[in-house]
Symmetry: D2
Amino acid sequence: MSIPRAAYPAPFNTTRASHAVLTVRDLGQSRAFYVDTMGFVVSDETADTIYLRGLEEACHHSLVLKRATAEPVCERIGLRVYTEDDLDKAKSHFERAGLPVKRVNVPHQGTTLHVADAVGTPLELCATMATQPRMVVQFQVFKGPCPHRLDHFQIITPEVQRASEFYAGMGFRLSEYIAVDGTDDLVFVFLQRKGNPHDIVFAGGPGPRLHHVAFTVPDAQHIIHACDIAGSHGFGTNLEHGPARHGPGHALFAYFRDPDGHRIELFNTHYQMMDIENEPVRWNLSYMRNRPWGLPPRARWFKEASPFAGVASREPPHPGAPFTLEKFLAECP
Amino acid sequence: MSIPRAAYPAPFNTTRASHAVLTVRDLGQSRAFYVDTMGFVVSDETADTIYLRGLEEACHHSLVLKRATAEPVCERIGLRVYTEDDLDKAKSHFERAGLPVKRVNVPHQGTTLHVADAVGTPLELCATMATQPRMVVQFQVFKGPCPHRLDHFQIITPEVQRASEFYAGMGFRLSEYIAVDGTDDLVFVFLQRKGNPHDIVFAGGPGPRLHHVAFTVPDAQHIIHACDIAGSHGFGTNLEHGPARHGPGHALFAYFRDPDGHRIELFNTHYQMMDIENEPVRWNLSYMRNRPWGLPPRARWFKEASPFAGVASREPPHPGAPFTLEKFLAECP
Amino acid sequence: MSIPRAAYPAPFNTTRASHAVLTVRDLGQSRAFYVDTMGFVVSDETADTIYLRGLEEACHHSLVLKRATAEPVCERIGLRVYTEDDLDKAKSHFERAGLPVKRVNVPHQGTTLHVADAVGTPLELCATMATQPRMVVQFQVFKGPCPHRLDHFQIITPEVQRASEFYAGMGFRLSEYIAVDGTDDLVFVFLQRKGNPHDIVFAGGPGPRLHHVAFTVPDAQHIIHACDIAGSHGFGTNLEHGPARHGPGHALFAYFRDPDGHRIELFNTHYQMMDIENEPVRWNLSYMRNRPWGLPPRARWFKEASPFAGVASREPPHPGAPFTLEKFLAECP
Amino acid sequence: MSIPRAAYPAPFNTTRASHAVLTVRDLGQSRAFYVDTMGFVVSDETADTIYLRGLEEACHHSLVLKRATAEPVCERIGLRVYTEDDLDKAKSHFERAGLPVKRVNVPHQGTTLHVADAVGTPLELCATMATQPRMVVQFQVFKGPCPHRLDHFQIITPEVQRASEFYAGMGFRLSEYIAVDGTDDLVFVFLQRKGNPHDIVFAGGPGPRLHHVAFTVPDAQHIIHACDIAGSHGFGTNLEHGPARHGPGHALFAYFRDPDGHRIELFNTHYQMMDIENEPVRWNLSYMRNRPWGLPPRARWFKEASPFAGVASREPPHPGAPFTLEKFLAECP
C-alpha cells in the first residue's frame, strides 16, 4: 500500500465540509443541548426539523436535526462544491466510479446531489445555500462555547486505504495520517480541501459510521466554558473526552455526546495547509500511547458511533486494539 | 460531632498560608519542572536549596526545595501571622494546647516558630520575610502557567474533626465542608483566614501527609497552558488530574506531580469570603459522585501524598471509599 | 507632610468595600446596561429600586440603583465591618472625631450607620446583609463580562492628605500612592483593608465626588468582552477609557459610563497585600506620562464624577494638570 | 464605477498572501522587537538578513528583514501560487497586462517572479519555499503574543478602483468594501483568495505604500499580552492603535510600529468565506464614525506608511478626510 496523492487538478472543485443531517428523538432535548447550551444559532425551525449554524456562518445550515422515532442516525454528511458546473463534473466523476448519483431538492440548498462514496458514506453535495446573516460580531447572541463554524467530519470505516484513495482522487490532500509502525498501513487519515488540516477524517473500525462532527470555537477558554455550561445545564456527563490536546492535528478539544448519542467535537488551534510543498505528517500508531498530556479516550469513544441511515456497518478484517483509558489505567495504576 | 465555629477574636492573628518546604532528590530536575516549565520565580539559590515565589509575591519564598538523598518529604508548611506579637501569642496558644514550640532561625524569614498542630502537621510560623520585587506586571519574566501566589495546602489526616476544631480554635473559618450524608461526620474541610475559601484543607485518610500545595494562576487559559507546556517539556505525564472543575470550592484546576512526586495544584476562580453572616457550605459525601463535569480522580490521587519529615502516618479508623476514576469506569463502561 | 501609617490595632474592624447607592433617571435604561449588558445579578427589584450583586457575591447587594428625577448622584458608599460590636466601636470612633453618626434602617442590611468621613464622603457602614446564593459557578446565568464582585471605590477630593490620614486612623493600609516628584505631597492614594491593593482610593480634585466603583472580572478576555457586548447593546460609546493597563495598581481595566454618567471600572489582576513588611509602593506624579502602554485618559475621565447627594464640591487649592489624551496628542501628533 | 467581480476561473491560482520583505536600520533592534517581544520564530539569520516565520508556518519565512542604511522601505510583498505552472500562467497574465516580469532567484524560495501590480505595488510570486518545522504545538518556543501566521497586507493607493479590478482579474474575491455613501466609489477593499476575509487590502491615499502586514494570534488574550509584553520590553509606545475591534472585517486587533516605523497588525477573529453565494459586504464611509467601541485611530495611523523601494508615491485626486482620534476629540470633548 502507499500514501495516496491528491489528484491535481481536481476532477471538480470541492471547497469544504458543509453540513451534517442527523435524526433525533426529541427536538426539545436537542434544542436544549445545541441551542441553549452549546450556543448554535437557529436558522429555521419546522415541526420536524431544526436548522442550525455556527456564529460566523453565512450559509443557512451546518447542522440539520430531524425528528425521527427510530434509532438516531446520520442521514448524510454534506460537502460544498464551488459552482453548479462543479456539481455536473462531480456527477460524472462519481458515475465513472460506478457510484449512482441522484439529483434531489433539499430545502434551503441549491441543486443537490446524493451519492455514497467508495466506502459507503452517504454524501450530499451542493454548490449554494440560502444565506443568513453572519453573527460573528453579534455578541448579543453569543452563548456557551460560541461554536463558529463546522470544520470537519470523522468517519469510521473498515477501508481507510480505499477511502483515502477515493478522496485523493477527488482532489483532497492528506495533511496528516497515522500508519502502523514500519508500514504504510493507514489507520487514520486527515483529508482536506479548504486549506486547514481536515475536512474529512477516516479512522479504522466497523463502518461506515459517523464518529463526530467538529465545530470550531474561537479561544481556548471556550473549550473550558463548553464544559462548565454543559455542567450547569445538566449535560455534564455528556462530556465524553477532554478537554485535552490531540497529538495528530494538534487541536485543543472537548467531545460531547448529544442527547441522542451523536458526538460533536469542539476545538480550536488548527493550522493553515495550502502550499504544494507541504508533505503529509506521518505518525506511527504506537505514538497514540504517548499523547502530549491528558488521559486517553474511554473505550466507548473508539467503539460507539452514529450509524448512517440505511447503511449496514461492516467489520474490519482485523479488529483494532486502540489504547483506551481502561487499558491505560490497567497498565499505570 | 458538630461543625466547629471560628474562635472570635482569634487567639493570635494568622493572616494566610505562606510557604511549603519540600525535599527533592535532584535540584536540576526540580528547576526544570518548577522554574522552566511552571514559571516560578527564583528568589535565591544555593548549592542545596532553591527558594521560589509566584509572580505577584513580594515575600521571599512560597516554595522551598531542599536537596536530600532520602525519600522526598515535606519538611513543613508555613503560615504567616501579622506581627511579632502574634508570634508570642501563638507560642502561648500552642503551649497551652500541650504542643511544644521551638523558636528557630530560618534564612530570609523573621523570627520563626516550629510546632506541630493537633494532628501532627509540622508547621512553621513567622511574621515577616525578606521582600522581593513583585513580578506581577514584569511580563518579560512570565513563563508557562504564570503561577501568581501560593493559596492553600491540603493535608490528609485520619482526624478531620480534630483538625477542624484545632484550626477553628486558632480563628480559622470553615468556608465549605463535606460530611457523610445525614450526619455531621466531616470528611473534608476548607478552612481559611485570608478571606477566600481556603488556607488549609483537611481530607480524611492516612496521615498527616501533604496532599498538595495550591497556587493561583490568573486566567482559565493558564490552566490549559500549564498542560501544554508540561507536555512540551516532557512533563506531560506529570499531569495527574484535570483540567476540570471542582464541585466544592468551585475552582478550575489541574494537578501535577513534581519530579519527586510532590503534588501541586494550579487553579483559579476562588471567591471572597469575609462576611460574618456567611455560613459554611455543606456538601454531602455522595455529591462527589456527581461532579459538574469531568472524570473523577484516579485512585492514586486519593492514595498518594508526601510524608512529613519524621512524622509517622496513622491510619483512619475506617478506610475511606473514594469514588475513583477506576470505579467510575467499572460502573459506566 | 508625611505618608500616613495604618493604626494598629484598628479602632474597629472594617473588612472591605461593600456597596454603592446611586440614583438614576430611568431604571429600564439602568437595567439594560447593568443587567442585560454587564451581567450583574438582580437580587431584588421594587418599583423604585434595583438591587444588584456580582456573580460570586453572597451579600444581598453591592450596587443599589434608585430612581430619582433630580441630577443623578451617589447617595452613599458602603463599607462592611466584621461584627455589630465593630459598629459600636465605629460609632465612638467617628464621634470622637467630631463626625455625627446616625443609626438607620436600610432594607436587606443589618444595623446601619450613616456618617460622613473627614473629607465629606457620605458613608454607610453595616456588619451584616441578607444573603443570596453565590452564582460563581451558576454558568447558566453568566452574561457579558461576568462581574464577580465589588472591589473598590475611587473618590475625588481636594484633601487627599487628610483623607489618607483619616482612613489610616481607621486601620486602612496604604498599598500604593502617587506623590508630586521630590515631595510627599499625595495626589493619589490606594487604601485597603481586605488584603488586596484597594478598598478605597482618593485622587486629588474638586470633591468629594465619586469617580468610579470598580468590579472584578475573572479573566483578561472578559475585559474585551465587556467592550464587545457593550457595542452590541448600543453602549459602545459608554466605554470611556481602556481596555488598557494601569501603572499604579497594575490592573487591566476598562471604564464605562452608565446611562446616567456614573462610572464603573471592570478590572482584573490585583495582587495580595497582607504582610506587615510590605511598604507602600511610591510612584512619582511624572510617571503618569509614562504608562506601560495605551493612550492616557481623556480630559473628561479626570474632570467628570458623580456628586454625592447633598454634598457640595469644594475646589482644591491648586488645580491639577493631569496628563490627558488631549495633551498627549498635542505633544505627540 | 462598479464593484468588480472575481475572474472565474482565475487566470492562475494564487493561494494566499505569503511574505513581506522590509529593510531596517538595526537588525539587533528588529530582533528585540520581532523575536524577543513579539515571538516570531527565526528560520535563518545572516549578517544582513533575518528570516522570520509565525509559529504555525511550515514555509521558510513570512517576514524578511534586511539591513539597509537608507530610509526603511518595503522591498516587496509576496504572494504564493499553487504550482510552477501557475507561475508561468502568472507571467503571461502580467505581461498581457503590460507589466514586465522578471524571473529571479531568491534564497529559500523556488522560482520567483518580480512584477509590479497595476497600481505599482512591487510583488514577488513563488510556488514553493523551503520548509521548516511547524511550531504550532512546540509550546516551549511560544513567546509574547505568539503570532501564528501572516494573514494579509494593506496597501495605500490613490487608485483603489483600479487595484480592485486588477486583483479581481487575478481571481481575488471582494469580501468587504467601504464605499462613499450613495455611490460605488471604493475607498477600502478587502480582497481574498484563501477563503477568509483578506489576503490584500487596498485603502485610498497617497501611494502605493505599505500600510501594514497582519499576523494572526490564537486567542483574544494574546492581543492584550502583545501590549503587556511590548510595555515590559520598552516597546509600549510602539502600540499605535488598539486593542480594539474593527467594524469592517470584524477582527479584534492591535497595531504596532516596529523600530523602523513599519506597521504590523496582530488580530484574531476572522471568518471563513468560501462559498460562491457570498456577496461582498458593503459599508458606507460614514459608518467609520460609528465603530462598535473604542477610539478612532490617530491621524498618523492614516497618514504614515512604509514606502516601497524605488516606487514614487502618487497623491490621490481628492485628499481623504478620515475620521481621526484628533477629530473625534474635537467633536466630543
